[in-house]
């Protein structure tokens, strides 16, 4: 067998690199965002859980709940936890859907779920109009009848051979597997290549609140947007939010409104520490160019450490005030 000509070796290596890059850039989960979705967030769980900056976020109930739900299913042959794309739509009402990558076929996944849970779960597999669906059911005691019934714990819908939509329903409603129509890949071009320090990246496809429920008035101004949350230095955090508005005047108003809303939030949280408030209030900018708005916030480690101390201090003060008030109230009875 002839040895490979070095030129062809280089070409093969370059091709493999490009193919790998293209595969990442063409992450098919982005092209499977269902119609009706308002907000999608690509969560880098590895980064989120390894970063001291985002520890509080990672340990919050919502993120822990998402991770627990993901851990419950053996998605990959390597046993790793995939990064989900969380899909939010206004009508979902406390249910959620995630787009998850898997390297198992429906039969393999159903089999592995059954092997993991044994009799504690019932796994059903069927072909639907949208794709192959796996339904996982767990026993539930009906309070009224005291009978044990199998209730849906989660549904997995194969949108492509490697991408599944996974949802949990909290209210007995139909899970949000509305039509999985493809959106143009170009829509997600800015988010295809997430820098390594990115914790979360997301798209705002439509404003999730109707006008009457939106105190900021942004629903009438904004058409779409995207954002990235990252740790630009150890212990620091940054947020970049880009909005596409309905026109130039709308963009100017949206930029101003965002600034107002953030300022009010900071006052309502930090008015007892005037220096901290000033520091935080000067950490962001909100500008408009044409019909676009760019909101940028950068919080260095020192600011975040101060926020953490402030919150802990205030909680202690509130606890102390509560104890004193209780003691006085008891003494006066």
């Amino acid at each position: 067998m002839k040895a490979w000509n070095p030129f062809w070796k280089l070409a093969a290596a370059a091709f493999a690199l490009c193919a790998g890059f293209a595969a990442f850039a063409q992450d098919e989960r982005w092209s499977q965002i269902p119609e009706g979705a308002a907000l999608v967030i690509n969560l880098n769980l590895g980064k989120l859980y390894s970063s001291a900056t985002f520890k509080a976020v990672a340990e919050s109930g919502d993120v822990e709940g998402i991770r627990d739900d993901l851990k419950g299913i053996p998605w990959n042959k390597a046993g790793t936890l995939p990064d989900p794309i969380i899909v939010y739509a206004p009508r979902m009402d406390e249910s959620y859907a995630m787009l998850v990558g898997t390297d198992k076929t429906p039969e393999e996944l159903a089999g592995d779920i059954s092997a993991r849970y044994g009799t504690k779960r019932t796994v059903e597999s069927q072909t639907t109009g949208l794709g192959r669906m796996i339904t996982v059911k767990k026993p539930h005691k009906n309070r009224k009848t005291q009978q044990i019934e199998m209730r849906t714990d989660g549904e997995i819908l194969y949108l492509t051979p490697r991408t599944v939509a996974f949802g949990r329903d909290k209210h007995g409603l139909d899970l949000p597997f509305f039509a999985a129509e493809r959106l143009p890949a170009s829509t997600f071009a800015t988010l295809q290549n997430m820098p390594s320090d990115t914790v979360a990246a997301g798209l705002l496809l439509s404003f999730p609140l109707p006008a009457a429920d939106d105190p900021t008035g942004l629903s009438a101004l904004v058409e779409s947007g995207d954002f990235i949350v990252s740790e630009y230095a150890p212990g620091s955090a940054s947020l970049v939010l880009n909005l596409e508005c309905k026109g130039e005047k709308e963009a100017e108003l949206a930029a101003r409104r965002l600034k107002s809303f953030v300022r009010i939030t900071l006052v309502s949280l930090f008015s007892l520490d005037k220096d901290l408030f000033k520091e935080l209030n000067s950490s962001y900018t909100s500008t408009s160019t044409g019909n676009r708005v760019k909101f940028e916030a950068k919080l260095p480690k020192t600011s975040l450490d101060r926020v953490r101390s402030y919150y802990l201090m205030e909680q202690a003060l509130l606890d102390a005030a509560g104890s004193i008030a209780d003691a006085i109230g008891a003494a006066l009875k």
Partner: protein
């Protein structure tokens, strides 16, 4: 005997006529307050301007937070906010058949509710008041209540003087205590002075409860 019967019948007739007149004054056809999605969008935009007004009030030109932040809200913005509030309330109580309308007219809050009765009839209740908060006391001078076309005296329906001690709910109490003063100006604007530090206390309470 005949005379007694005639008197009784006459009295009964007067009572019946009075009741009919009362009914005619109070009962009417149900009232509807049309409010489209386009109205909600327009009012949301106008009401949201209040966010900018509050933002300008809570930080001064040097970037400092004042002890009392004073916001003056023009009548059209107060009106928009109240209309949106009515729209959201109507959404929640849709099943009851009751429909409400709120507004801000001539420096007073106006509230109207169409309360359904059998036979496709209703009582339209109306109220208006100019709330004032000063020295920790909420008063409602110029309170006016009507049922249909009939003026109704305030038999304790609305407390005309409220202090923080009257409020049981802790969050509402804190929100009340965060207000330094509230009144309507002569041009119809609503002026509110708030303590930013007390808003901060309320926010933290809400956040801790969330956890």
């Amino acid at each position: 005997m005949k005379k007694t019967i005639k008197i009784v019948l006459a009295v009964l007739a007067v009572i019946v006529v009075l009741l009919l007149v009362l009914a005619a004054l109070v009962i009417s056809a149900p009232k509807s307050y049309p409010y489209t999605v386009a109205d909600a969008e327009a009012d949301a935009m106008t009401a949201a301007e209040i966010v900018d007004m509050i933002s300008d009030a809570v930080v001064d030109d040097e970037g400092n937070i004042p002890e009392i932040a004073v916001v003056t809200i023009p009548p059209e913005n107060v009106n928009a906010l109240l209309r949106i509030a009515a729209y959201r309330l109507n959404r929640e109580i849709r099943d009851s058949g009751i429909e409400c309308s709120f507004g801000w007219d001539d420096s007073a809050v106006r509230a109207e509710a169409s309360i359904p009765l059998p036979l496709s009839l209703a009582v339209v209740a109306r109220g208006s008041a100019s709330p004032v908060i000063a020295d920790g006391v909420l008063t409602v001078p110029s309170l006016s209540l009507r049922a249909g076309h009939l003026p109704v005296p305030n038999f304790g329906f609305v407390k005309d003087r409220i202090t923080a001690d009257d409020i049981k709910d802790e969050k509402t109490k804190l929100a009340f205590e965060a207000i330094h003063d509230l009144s309507a100006s002569q041009d119809g604007s609503l002026q509110i002075g708030v303590y930013p530090e007390k808003i901060s206390a309320l926010t933290r309470l809400l956040l801790i409860e969330e956890e």
